[in-house]
Amino acid sequence: MLGFPKILHQLHLFEEEGVPYAADLDKARVVELSAVMTDILKLAETQTDDAIVETLSASYEEDDISEAFERFAELEREGLLFNRGEDLERSLATESKWRKLLVIIPGIDVDSFFDIETLSAGTNMALAHMITHLTKYADLHFASSRNRKITDGVYEVDIGIRDLVRLRSKIGETYYGILTLHQEREQWLFPLYRYPEFPPILVQNHAPRGHGGQAINSMLRHYAAMRDCDGFTAPSDYVRDFYADYVWDPSFFNTLPNGVDSTLFKPMDKAAAKREVAEGVGDDRIEVVPTIGYLSRVQSEKGASVYLKLAELNPHLIFLIAGPNMGRYASRKLPDNLVYVGFHPREKLPLIYNAFDVYCFMSMSGEETFGLTVLEAMACGIPPIVPNFDGVPSVVGDTGLIADAENFDQDIATFVSYPCPVDFSRKINLLLGNDEMYQELSQMARERAVLFTWDKTASRIVRIFEELHQKRKLANPNRLLNVFAPTQPSEDDEQQELKYRSIVLSMNAHYERCLMRDAVYPLRVEEGLVLSILKEHTTREAEAILAALIPDETQARTTLKRVQGLIDGTA
């Protein structure tokens, strides 16, 4: 049995050629019904299963009724007709006047964003912080398969990935923006880019490369397909600059730095912190010997192997490792001065950081763009030493030391860098041997870290959406008409090279004149080609085509700009 009474979706019942149908407006789908199903639906919100059967048994066979129930059960499994989860006042809750953002991150449980302890990957953690702070600026609706209020201003809504395109008008009316995360192989986002109805889509992009170029290629596809009013976030200017080598218009990458909770991560009594850690692992060397810290998964791409080398190079120092476990290093003979201090819950992390004298961040991974732990260490007043690689130095600024690193122009098995252990070692000793410099950096690190707040990150997201809305308002239809033609031979040898041309008509597709005077304006084929391509494709797609056809990139870029200008100017 189905468990009536049920809350129905917003339905419109109608008949067409004698067949009853229900249009489910919450799912933008039409369902064919039978007479008995129609009657059941009329009772569905008020009566129980038994009551419905009893009411209808006078007019229908019992078999028909139970068949209808079976059909309803099927439809319910598909998410149709009946509200799933709580009744959120017609599922796309409208109780608040706040701007609403639709957050679509398939494959991640919504609850985990509000229980940071369950997250370990830096990316998801950053996202969780961001989302929590975002609730100060907008209501968040997570696309899911049920309706549920999670907390004030945060809802799960029953909008499946497959519903998105059909629900575009409703989504466009309801939401100020769509926030999502770039995931490498996902395909669901592409169809959305094709519809102007959707609000701006902001794609969080964390990893600029890796996976043998696949991350780049996936990003390049999104870049090409997305609308003018969509964009990426990039965790640092570095990432934005990185993409500038791959695309013509890096303005699609909006820098969105991570933040740090500087009330949780703050300088503490160092001696006490060291004592507590020393007691925890039963190694009192920690209290007397200077300590170096590593807080990450213990994996080679995070620089664990290099860290081991550092320990070997510096027997006079203690090297602490905090991470979920020692991974493949557990079975190795480790240097005597390397101490594993275990995996700690989030609220304990400030203590761990404070037990470090120097924080070493050694990630070599192609997926590293920011280095959240560096910021956390800085917030605790621990001067960091980081490799000169990707976005990390920009986080540190002049509040830590930058060690040499060999950077590779392409990633090799996700490795894109090799931090130089000798230079790291030199910098560690430099820092520990100069107390004045140490104190100064420690203070500056804290001062710099407090500038990175999650609140800023969240408000920046809202600001990016506002900018995207502006772009959306300026989006122009491309109504110019052009044809391609052979050109008239000329006596000029150079002109002879140009055997073809394009002609733009001063009339647009609606037979309205939009250029002055003559009906025909000759253009170069390149320009005509862009005009044609921009009818159904984006400027970034035209970019890819021009890049293939015109050897001189400057010329190609100018062509694109010129045509875009013409379209903008005539629309």
Partner: protein
């Protein structure tokens, strides 16, 4: 160009709920939110043409809003919702019914730029065409002004439109015409008619001497705009040969020479010569053999060539028909007179001169009025063609040809000695000449105005029978043109990503496909030739649809790799 696909509505249901309008596609199960104008368009879509829909709704909505609504709905159709592409049905035309042709009258503004003969020919052509077709033109009178009256054979359709109505005539041409006859040489407004789907256009381009400098450009432009139903009409065979020589596809180019009026022949060459001598006050017309030169030369080069020709043939009396030089060549050589018909009076005496000719010479090049040559032939004058191509079929059997050279810039060259020798020889009485003269008379009689008008109508009928090209249905996932990073080379190049199959595809193939949705095959060809790339040949759909391997498989699956390499072209090559 407009999308030429037609759609039919699928089974659907419209409804309103909470002040929102919706339409349910009962076949796909989609419910689509629509706005007011889309609602109204849908109510009319099945039974009315676009034109009717717009006319009905334009009081209530802005035109662009209506057009955008139609466009949005048809875009849905393209994606498989609500509308289904319809297979075009070619209507069987009733044989007795006259086709209704639209003749936009922009060309009347060109009157002063063209020569008298050409304007006369156009007028005559319309008059004779009216026998076989119903002719109509559009007028947009101001509110204050009265409607424009019909003139001669052409009915005027007055379109009353509000001042704010920016719609141009092509829109009205969409409604109810079997064809559009374009006569304008300047293309100022005419090209916009090519946007109209499914109406054959016959565009007549003259070889006018005064417009020679832009003629080629005009021809090439018209060729570019043509669809498969359209015909470009040129007035002499060498014009078509010229286009073919330039590599233009001449499939839709037809040669229909202007017809001629035959006046009563005085049938007395000697008398005609006397008249001519008297009119020009030049006794050479009775003393020397009279050679006519129907000139289409570029004026400066023509003047030089005519003097050279006159000096090389002092024994000839040379009658030059040249619309430009008549006014501008002040002191031609002694044995030359230059004439052109500039008004009714001068036109009326032309036959006298033509009948006085012993031979009519002409360069078969743009600018030469074939109708004047044909008229001379109709009086039994044989001809000498200076031609770059073969003997023009219009005059074949009616004279001799001497090979000449000319280029696109007005340069003309012919071995003068050979020309003079051929003329002298031809002027000797011979059986061959008599045969040619008889044949000339006979063949020229075929070029009546009536026949020309019928040929034009035939071009419309033939155009109407050509089915509009059915574009291949585009996939639900349009291709994404994007950069592609090649980690093995560390380089970036352009490619195409297909969502449905999750694989990269050949850029050229996809580009050709995308362009073909909006452009004719000739245009697409032009684009590829411009970039000096071969247009990919599409043997059948399977060559590029392929059996796509997902992106990740391609990396690990050797078969996939091979497949991928086959599918892509490396541009560095």
């Amino acid at each position: 160009m407009l999308s030429r696909t037609h759609y039919r509505l699928k089974q659907h249901h419209k409804f309103e709920q909470d002040d929102q309008k919706y339409v349910a596609d009962l076949e796909t199960g989609d419910v689509i939110q629509i706005n007011d104008v889309e609602w109204e368009i849908l109510s009319r879509y099945e039974s009315q043409t676009h034109h009717q829909i717009v006319e009905e709704l334009k009081e209530k909505y802005k035109l662009t809003v209506i057009f955008d609504g139609i466009q949005r709905l048809e875009r849905l159709g393209k994606q498989g919702s609500l509308l289904r592409p319809a297979v075009e049905v070619i209507e069987q035309r009733d044989a007795d019914q006259k086709p209704k042709l639209l003749v936009p009258f922009h060309f009347t503004r060109e009157k002063t730029s063209l020569d008298y003969t050409m304007n006369l020919n156009r007028y005559q052509s319309l008059t004779h065409l009216a026998e076989f077709a119903e002719l109509e033109t559009l007028a947009f009178p101001d509110e204050e002004k009265e409607d424009v009256q019909d003139f001669d054979q052409v009915r005027v359709r007055n379109i009353s439109s509000a001042k704010s109505d920016t719609l141009m005539s092509p829109w009205y041409a969409m409604d109810g015409y079997d064809g559009i006859l374009l006569l304008s040489q300047f293309l100022t407004d005419d090209l916009s008619y090519y946007q109209i789907p499914n109406v054959p256009i016959v565009h007549c381009i003259e070889g006018d001497q005064r417009l020679q400098h832009v003629l080629l450009r005009t021809l090439l432009t018209v060729c570019a705009f043509q669809g498969s139903k359209d015909t470009l009409v040129v007035k002499a065979s060498w014009m078509k040969a010229w286009l073919a020589e330039l590599g233009v596809s001449v499939e839709n180019v037809q040669v229909i020479p202007d017809g001629i009026d035959i006046v009563e022949s005085i049938d007395d060459k000697a008398l005609a010569k006397q008249h001519t001598a008297a009119i020009f006050d030049k006794s050479m017309f009775v003393e020397k053999p009279v050679v006519g030169l129907i000139s289409g030369f570029e004026p400066n080069r023509g003047a030089a060539w005519i003097s050279e020709f006159a000096r090389a043939n002092p024994h000839l009396a040379i009658f030059v028909y040249d619309a430009m030089l008549e006014k501008n060549y002040r002191h031609p050589p002694e044995n030359v007179v230059i004439f052109s018909a500039d008004d009714e009076e001068t036109r009326a005496i032309l036959p006298i001169f033509l009948q006085a000719l012993d031979l009519v010479c002409f360069p078969a090049m743009p600018g030469t009025p074939l109708s004047v040559v044909l008229e001379a032939m109709a009086y039994g004058v044989s001809c000498l063609v200076m031609t770059k191509y073969e003997m023009p079929p219009e005059v074949a059997g009616a004279g001799v040809a001497v090979a000449a050279e000319w280029d696109n810039f007005g340069n003309f060259h012919i071995p003068m000695a050979k020309l003079s020798e051929t003329i002298s020889k031809w002027l000797q009485p011979s059986d061959a000449r008599v045969q040619c003269e008889d044949f000339a008379k006979e063949v020229a009689q075929r070029y009546t105005r009536k026949n020309a008008a019928q040929a034009l109508v035939q071009a419309f009928v033939a155009g109407g029978l050509v089915p509009t090209q059915q574009r291949t249905e585009r996939t639900l996932f349009p291709p994404i043109f994007c950069h592609r990073y090649e980690p093995d080379k560390g380089t970036l190049r352009s490619s195409v990503y297909r969502l449905g199959t999750s694989r990269y595809d050949r850029l050229e193939t996809t580009l050709a496909e995308v362009l073909a949705e909006r452009h004719t095959p000739t245009e697409v060809e032009s684009v590829f030739k411009h970039f000096r790339r071969d247009r990919p040949t599409l043997t059948d759909d399977t060559t590029y649809a392929g059996n796509g391997f997902p992106d990740s498989d391609v990396k690990t699956n050797p078969a996939g790799q091979e497949h991928q390499q086959k599918g892509e072209t490396i541009y560095e090559a």
